[in-house]
C-alpha cells in the first residue's frame, strides 16, 4: 500500500522499498515526490502586481471552479526539478549509443546563439520590416541545406522528422495531381522506420512492402517488379536502418523515375554522409533532414525536433507555405497563396508560422562552426567510430550482415546470446548498471533481437575502448552463465525494471487527488 505521498504504509513493502536508508534516498540520489504532493494552491513562485479591479469584459465566460494547480516557491521549484534531472541519463553524462537516434555532443554555443534576442524574442507576425535578421537565418540555413544535399529547394517549416516526411510526401502527391494522374501506392522497405508507412497512410496512400535481401539491402530488381502505374513513390532510408549504404540506390532511383514515380529519401541517417555524398546526385526528389540528429540541436527528452525537407527541381514548385524567395539579393517571406507568383504552386501549409526557428539558429551555429571541412570530418569520424566498435566486438557478438561496411551505426543480432538465458533486453539493462545508456533494441525488425549501436563522432578513442571492453565483459559473463547479472538488471539505476504491462492495461495518465481519509467514528 502506498499513502497519498506515494510512500509505503506496510512494513514488508517498506523493507523492499528502502533496503539501506529510512528515507529511500541514497545520498546524492534523492526520491522526489510529484509536484502535486508538495505544492499548494495558494503558493506562487512568481511576483505579480495586485490587479486593479478594472471591471471585466468577459461576458458570462468567467471561470467559477478551481483548477487544481499547486504552486511552488522558487527554491522549492529549483530543488524539485534539479532532483528530477538527476535521475536522467543524457549525452553530457555519458556515451549514448542509441542507433538511428544519433546522440552526439550538443555544443553550448548553439544554445547561446539561439537565445540572442533578435532570434528568441521575435514574434512570427510582427511586421516583416522588423524581422530581417530572423528571415535571413531561414534563408541562410536553407542555402546550406541545399548545398549539402545537392538539391534545388527547401521547405523549412516542418516541425520534426516525421512532419518532414509528411511534407515531402504531400509535395509528391501534389506533383502527381498536377500531372493529372492518380497514383496511390507507396513502396516501403521492411526495414523502414514505422513513420514511413504511417506517413503514407495519413495522406491516403497504400503501402506495398519491399522485402529486404539476405544482406539487409534493397534489391533493384525487386523494386522494378513492384513498380507500376499505380506507384507514387518509394520511401527509402539511406544509409538504411541496418547501418548499410544501399549499394543500388542510384539504380533504384532511375527505375523509380522511369516508372513515373518519385524517390523520397528518409534522411534520418544523413549524418553518415554529410560532405561525402550529395543525395541529389543519387536521384533523390525529396528528403527530410532531422536537424537534431545531423546538426546537433538537443533532443531535450524527446523534442523539439525540426525536419526541413530538401526538394528536387521537379518538386520545388510545390513547396508549402511559408517559403523564402530571394528578391534582389534580399530574402522575402511568402506567407499566403495570394503572394505567390507564376510557377509557385504550394500544396498548402504544414504549421502556423515559419517552423522551428530556435532549431534553425542552433543548426546554423553548428554549421558555421564546423564549416564544410568540419562536417565532412564529422561524418568520417562517425563512420570510423562505428566500424571501430564493430571491429572490437565482431569476434564475440554476431553481425547479421557481415559483408557490408557499417556506416555511422553497427547492427548486431542476438545469436551470440543463444542458450544463455539472457535476452537482448536483459543485456541492455545490464549496460545500465555499467553506466551506459543501452543501444537501440529490437530495431530494425528485419533481424531477430537487433542491437543497433551508434557511437557518433563525438566519442574519444579512450571512450570507445572502454565501451568495447565493457561490452566484451558482458558478453563473456552471459556466456559464462552469470545470468542473474542480466535478469536482475538494472540494480543500481534510480528504478529497477518497470511494469510496462500494468501501465498499459490500466492506464494512469494523470495524478488524482487521493480521497480524504474518513474521520474516525466513535464506537457506540
Amino acid at each position: 500500500m502506498l499513502n497519498d505521498q506515494g510512500r509505503p504504509t506496510r512494513p514488508e513493502t517498506f523493507q523492499a522499498h528502502t533496503p539501506w536508508t529510512f528515507t529511500g534516498n541514497r545520498a546524492l540520489r534523492v526520491e522526489e515526490p510529484l509536484l502535486f504532493e508538495i505544492g499548494r494552491a495558494e503558493t506562487t513562485g512568481v511576483d505579480l502586481p495586485e490587479p486593479e479591479g478594472v471591471p471585466p469584459r468577459l461576458g458570462a465566460h468567467r471561470r467559477t471552479t478551481p483548477i487544481d494547480l499547486p504552486g511552488l516557491t522558487e527554491p522549492e521549484a529549483m530543488r524539485h526539478y534539479v532532483r528530477l534531472s538527476r535521475s536522467n541519463y543524457s549525452i553530457d553524462t555519458g556515451l549514448y549509443p542509441l542507433g538511428s537516434c544519433t546522440m552526439k555532443h550538443n555544443p553550448r554555443l548553439n544554445e547561446k546563439m539561439a537565445r540572442l534576442p533578435g532570434f528568441s524574442d521575435a514574434h512570427p507576425l510582427q511586421p516583416l520590416s522588423t524581422v530581417r535578421g530572423a528571415v535571413e537565418v531561414i534563408a541562410e540555413l536553407g542555402r546550406w541545406l541545399c548545398a549539402l544535399t545537392g538539391m534545388q529547394a527547401v521547405a523549412m517549416s516542418p516541425k520534426a522528422g516525421a512532419h518532414g516526411e509528411l511534407c515531402g510526401m504531400m509535395a509528391i502527391k501534389a506533383a502527381i495531381r498536377a500531372r493529372g494522374e492518380e497514383r496511390n501506392v507507396v513502396l516501403v522497405p521492411e526495414s523502414a522506420h514505422g513513420t514511413n508507412p504511417a506517413t503514407a497512410a495519413l495522406i491516403g496512400m497504400t503501402v506495398r512492402d519491399v522485402p529486404a535481401r539476405a544482406d539487409g539491402t534493397v534489391d533493384v530488381e525487386e523494386v522494378k517488379r513492384l513498380l507500376g502505374p499505380d506507384v507514387a513513390a518509394i520511401m527509402l532510408t539511406n544509409p538504411n536502418t541496418c547501418g548499410i549504404f544501399e549499394p543500388e540506390v542510384a539504380a533504384i532511383a532511375e527505375a523509380v523515375h522511369a516508372a513515373g514515380a518519385y524517390f523520397y529519401a528518409d534522411g534520418a541517417n544523413f549524418n553518415a554522409i554529410v560532405g561525402k555524398v550529395l543525395p541529389g546526385d543519387l536521384g533523390v526528389d525529396a528528403m527530410h533532414i532531422n536537424l537534431h540528429k545531423t546538426f546537433s540541436t538537443p533532443h531535450g527528452g524527446g523534442g523539439p525536433g525540426a525536419g526541413p525537407v530538401v526538394l528536387s527541381g521537379r518538386l520545388a514548385p510545390f513547396a508549402p507555405l511559408p517559403f523564402v524567395r530571394m528578391e534582389n539579393g534580399t530574402p522575402v517571406l511568402v506567407e499566403t497563396p495570394a503572394a505567390t507568383r507564376d510557377g509557385e504552386t504550394p500544396f498548402g501549409r504544414m504549421t502556423a508560422f515559419h517552423g522551428q526557428m530556435g532549431m534553425f539558429t542552433r543548426a546554423l551555429a553548428y554549421m558555421l562552426s564546423h564549416g564544410s571541412d568540419g562536417m565532412r570530418q564529422a561524418s568520417e569520424d562517425a563512420v570510423l567510430a562505428a566500424n571501430y566498435v564493430r571491429a572490437g566486438l565482431a569476434d564475440l557478438m554476431t553481425l547479421p550482415f557481415p559483408n557490408h561496411p557499417s556506416m555511422h551505426e553497427v547492427l548486431f543480432d542476438d545469436r551470440f546470446l543463444k542458450d544463455t538465458g539472457v535476452t537482448t533486453l536483459d543485456f541492455a539493462k545490464a549496460m545500465i548498471d555499467e553506466g551506459y545508456h543501452p543501444m537501440t533494441m529490437y530495431f530494425p525488425l528485419v533481424v531477430h533481437g537487433a542491437m543497433l549501436i551508434e557511437p557518433t563522432e563525438s566519442e574519444s578513442k579512450a571512450s570507445l575502448d572502454l565501451f568495447v571492453a565493457t561490452l566484451r565483459d558482458l558478453v563473456m559473463a552471459a556466456q559464462r552463465g552469470d545470468t542473474a547479472r542480466f535478469t536482475q538488471a538494472p540494480r543500481f539505476a534510480p528504478r529497477r525494471r518497470l511494469d510496462e504491462t500494468r501501465a498499459a492495461r490500466s492506464p494512469k495518465l494523470k495524478w488524482d487527488r487521493p480521497a480524504p481519509i474518513p474521520p474516525a467514528v466513535a464506537a457506540e
Binding site: I67, S87, L116, G133, K276, D281, H299, G358, P405, W511
Partner: protein, 446 residues
C-alpha cells in the same frame, strides 16, 4: 575542430584495427563516381568568437519584442518568463537527454511529463492529456483526424474564428487525406451561425475561443447541437493563459481540447519551437495521437513512470497508427511545466487577470482614438479594432515610430475585405506608458 575528439593518430590506429587503408574504404558501397572528392563549396570551420560575431550581426537586424511597446498576438504571446525556467531547462540531464525509451534511467523526463499531463488535463477541464504535440496548429490538425477516426466520418466544420493559419493546416491535411472541410467565413464578432453548418455528416466542429479575433465564444450550444448529430467538438485556444480566468472547455462540452502552450515558459522564438497541448476524455484515449506517460511500479514496488499505450504508435502499428508523430516537444513542455509550477493556481489566476485588465485598458484607450472602433464586446487579452483605411499601412507607420501595434488581418486573410482590421494583444508586460504611446502614435498616423 573542437567538437571532434579524435586525433590523426587515433584515426590511423582505428583504421589499422578495422583493417582498411583509409576511411573511404568504409564508403565502398557508395556507387562509383558518387563519392565526393572535394569539399562542398561552403565556408570552412570558424572559431567560437567568429560565429558569435556573425550571428550577432544577423540577430541585430531584427527588432526584439522586449525593446519596444509590443502588442502583437494572434497565436503567440509576449509574456515574462522567470529566469528559473531557462536555467532549469538547460540542465544537461534534461537538455541532452533523448526520448525516455529506458525508463529506469529517465525518470526525470517521465515524471515531468506526468506532471505536465496532469496540469494540462486540469487546466482544460478534461480527463487525460498527452505529453505534448508540435504546436497548437498541428495539434488542431491531429484533433480533426482523431475525430474522423472516432466518428468514422470525414467532414470537419470549421468556425470562421479559427486562426487562419490553423485553418490552413487543417485544410492541407484534409485535402491530402481526401477529407472535407466546411470553413465558415472569417468572423471578428463571433456572430456566425455555426449551428446551421452542423449536419449528420459532420465529424467534428472546430471552434476557437477566445477566437482569432479575440471574441469569447460559448461552446455549450455548439456542443449540444454537435452531440445531437453524433459529432464531436474540438475546442481550440491559442492563449493558454486565458484558461486561468475562463471557464474550461471541458466544462462546456468539448470532446477534444487543443491549443498552444507557448505563453507559459516558452519564448516567442519567431514561431517555434512551441508546445502543442491536447486533452480529451478517458474513453477516447486510445485514439489520441502522440506520446503518453503513465504511472506504474518497478520490481521493488516503487512508483515509477513509463511511456505507455504505444500500441497506438507508428513504431508498432506502422500504417495503422493513430498518427505518424514520433516525437513530442519534450523540452518545451518542461519549460511549460516549470513555469506553471512556479505560477500555481494563485499565480496563474492573477496573471490571467492582469492580462485581461491590460487588454481592457488598452481597448478603452484605442477606442478613444477618433475613427477607431473596438469590435469585440467580450474578450480576454486580445481584440480586434477597425481603423480608417489600410490597416497594414497603419501598422507599418506605427512600426516606423517604434510601436509594434498588432497584426493587420489582411496579412493572413488577403482579399477577404478585412483590410481595415487589426488584431491587438495586451499582456502583463505592457506598461501604462506603452498603452499611452500606442494610442497617441495611432492618433498621429491615422
Amino acid at each position: 575542430m573542437r567538437y571532434l575528439p579524435l586525433t590523426p593518430t587515433d584515426r590511423a590506429e582505428m583504421l589499422a584495427r578495422i583493417g582498411v587503408p583509409d576511411v573511404d574504404a568504409l564508403f565502398a558501397d557508395v556507387p562509383a563516381g558518387k563519392l565526393l572528392s572535394d569539399l562542398i563549396d561552403l565556408p570552412k570551420a570558424r572559431g567560437e568568437l567568429e560565429v558569435e560575431r556573425l550571428m550577432g550581426r544577423m540577430a541585430a537586424r531584427t527588432v526584439p519584442a522586449s525593446s519596444v511597446p509590443f502588442f502583437v498576438g494572434a497565436g503567440a504571446y509576449k509574456h515574462h518568463v522567470p529566469a528559473t525556467v531557462d536555467h532549469l531547462i538547460q540542465r544537461s540531464e534534461f537538455l541532452t537527454s533523448y526520448t525516455p525509451y529506458q525508463p529506469e534511467i529517465t525518470q526525470g523526463t517521465l515524471q515531468y511529463l506526468f506532471e505536465f499531463q496532469t496540469q494540462v488535463a486540469n487546466l482544460t477541464g478534461m480527463e487525460v492529456a498527452n505529453a505534448s504535440m508540435y504546436d497548437g496548429s498541428t495539434a488542431t490538425g491531429e484533433a480533426v483526424l482523431m475525430a474522423h477516426r472516432l466518428t468514422r466520418r470525414s467532414k470537419a466544420v470549421v468556425s470562421g474564428g479559427l486562426h487562419p493559419q490553423y485553418r490552413a493546416v487543417v485544410e492541407t491535411l484534409s485535402d491530402m487525406a481526401g477529407d472535407t472541410v466546411a470553413a465558415l467565413a472569417p468572423d471578428p464578432r463571433g456572430t456566425e451561425d455555426i449551428l446551421a453548418a452542423i449536419d449528420k455528416d459532420t465529424s467534428c466542429v472546430v471552434v476557437q475561443t477566445p477566437s482569432f479575433y479575440g471574441q469569447l465564444i460559448d461552446l455549450a450550444p455548439i456542443a449540444e447541437k454537435a452531440h445531437a448529430v453524433g459529432a464531436l467538438v474540438v475546442a481550440v485556444f491559442t492563449e493558454v493563459v486565458s484558461l486561468g480566468l475562463l471557464e474550461p472547455p471541458g466544462a462546456r462540452g468539448a470532446d477534444i481540447v487543443v491549443g498552444e502552450g507557448q505563453s507559459i515558459g516558452n519564448a516567442l522564438g519567431f514561431g517555434g519551437p512551441y508546445v502543442g497541448l491536447m486533452a480529451t476524455r478517458q474513453k477516447y484515449v486510445r485514439q489520441m495521437p502522440g506520446r503518453l506517460c503513465g504511472e506504474t511500479v518497478d520490481a521493488e514496488n516503487r512508483r515509477g513512470f513509463v511511456l505507455t499505450l504505444s500500441t497506438r504508435e507508428q513504431h508498432i502499428r506502422r500504417d495503422k497508427a493513430t498518427s505518424n508523430i514520433c516525437t513530442n516537444s519534450g523540452l518545451c513542455c518542461l519549460a511549460f511545466t516549470i513555469h506553471m509550477s512556479l505560477l500555481g493556481e494563485a499565480g496563474l489566476s492573477r496573471l490571467a487577470l492582469l492580462n485581461h485588465e491590460a487588454a481592457v485598458k488598452l481597448a478603452d484607450r484605442l477606442a478613444a482614438v477618433p475613427g477607431v472602433e473596438v469590435l469585440n464586446p467580450a474578450f480576454f487579452n486580445e481584440f480586434t479594432i477597425r481603423v480608417p483605411g489600410d490597416a497594414a499601412a497603419v501598422i507599418e507607420r506605427l512600426a516606423e515610430r517604434g510601436i509594434l501595434g498588432g497584426l493587420p488581418v489582411s496579412r493572413l486573410e488577403p482579399g477577404r475585405g478585412l483590410d481595415d482590421l487589426i488584431v491587438v494583444a495586451a499582456t502583463e508586460v505592457n506598461t501604462e506608458d506603452d498603452r499611452q504611446a500606442y494610442a497617441e502614435t495611432l492618433r498621429a498616423v491615422l
